[in-house]
Amino acid sequence: MMKQLNVNQILALIIALFSIAYLVVAFQIPTFPLPRPIDSDLFPKVLGFTLLGLAGLLFLEKPKTQDIPDTPGPEALAQPLLLRPWSRVVITSLAIAAYALLMVPVGFVVASTVLAFGLAWYYGYRRHGVNLATSIGVVLALYLTMTRIMDVYLPTGILPI
């Protein structure tokens, strides 16, 4: 019967699959019309095969305790679904993705203030006045420094500044 795979072996298989996909693309890199000792495809091929070899070594390596992520404790699991540790990572990621998509139409100041205030509130900060003042203050300071002093353009969006 096949033994259950350990963490390193699962990671090794994922990395091996990635390196095979990488090599497939590397073998499709077109060659330069003039003959050269080494072309654009050599280095990627070397990298792909090296990674594949390293995946093999990782498969054989016994995982250390520090390589295995902790499972969430009962305290974390007792929290509402939206406040559990992994939910925080997922919701923060979704918020960043939404921010990236909305920053240009809505504008840097509004989008950043909403993101900073909203996430601090979601992470558990309950002094809303301080939160709002800090978020607006820092975002405005950044905006004015970037646009007025450094001449870096940031989207204005719905605000006329």
């Binding site: 963490v7 890199i29 000792p37 080494i38 070594l57 974390a76 992994w86 996430l119 950044l142």
Partner: protein, 498 residues
Amino acid sequence: MEAFNNLMFGFGIALEPMNIAYVFGGVFAGTIIGMLPGLGPISALALMIPVTFAMEPSSGLILMAGVYYGAIFGGSSSSILLNAPGVAGTVATSFDGYPMAKQGMAGKALAIAAYASFIGGTISIVFLMMVAPLLSRVAVAFGPTEYFALMVLGLTAVVSLSDKSLVKGLIAAVVGVMISIIGIDLQTGTVRFAFGTTHLLDGIDFLVVALGIFALAEVFYILLRGGGGKEQPRNAIGSLKLTRKEAGEIAGPIGRSSVLGFFTGVLPGAGATIGSFLGYSMEKRIAKDGDTFGKGNIKGVAAPEAANNAACTGSFVPLLTLGVPGSGTTAVLLGALLVMGITPGPAMLADRPDVFWGVIASMYIGNIMLLVLNLPLIPYIAKILEMPRPLLLSLILIFCMVGVYGMSFSVIDLLFLLGFGLLGLGMRLFGFPAAPLILALILGDIMEESMRRALQISGGDWMVFIDKPISMWLLIIASLSLILPVVKPLLQKLRARG
């Protein structure tokens, strides 16, 4: 004596009231900009180029030198306080600086960084002045073969210094190189791994990866450990004062790393990043308490800080005497010089001694300013740690976004930032070190270019890397740095068995 006279001539220029003001302004602006994760010396210098248009070339370069030093030190502050190095040269500082901050010794870590930067900078300036002509001859002797071997050594040193798995460190390094070669191959014009999108033609910027792997992954990790929901006990900043014993402990590492950093900085392509990693690696290896590196060892802060500042100075040697930038940052400086109508090279010393010696003298003054300005400001800089954790986490996210968007003006880069943040979290959870990835990312394309140029010169003969003595020795040391961590425990086991 000639060097002394030249230096006095340089001081005459650097001590002009306007030039002192420029050094002060440059150091101050550089420190603030360098502190913001994402805005490192390259961005700061690039933004300063328009400011220098109307200046005398010597004044312009003096201002730029101040910004450069300030940004490197500012980057150390965010590395220590937030584990968010905005500058590659200060990544190694975060290895022990951040654990020190978490143990309530942020003030001490920042003070060590300031002292080490000052001493590293000062020692290397003396070196620069005394041996610049000799060193430039050594740097000239480095061809693509030697560069390639040097990069390999830099990478293996970083992989071997990690206390995590050697295989995982190498995997991280290979992935870093893979990221670095995305986009147009500048030698042939061939597009690689862009998957038909125009956005990837220029590759993925270092900043996007660095902020993702370090800062964003740190935020995610804190959230995963439940740090976002509750008020965390605040880390005390602690005293800025060092005991006599601590000063004695860091004196050796600072001295050694200053020399090492300077020589690394002189070699084009190496710069502050490799210098700081090599300094850290060297001290970890020779320290009796090497096992405490990465857990808040003061020598682990002093060594990379002295080395990166010394390397910054060292990188001026090839720039000023050969016209070859020693790092990405000095490449921006080279651009600034060309804009001012100065072509650096061997003739510069004779044609524009005011620029050459003015800059060297302003480095002395810039270093003193850095210490005078930053030490009193440390408690205020460290106040950032006293912010409620939820607020701090959300603001770090905003700083990351501004850093990335302000550089590329691309929404897609913000999504890449998120992707690298999640990758960084995964790496952290499964024991993959992040430092080799980031260093490989910086060195990857230069490494490939050096390798290809070397092979083109040799007509495709791979023995060229062994035939040249410098390259051969560098590669032997690189191999040993990988083999020793594997062989050492085996030998210990054999000895234990008798």
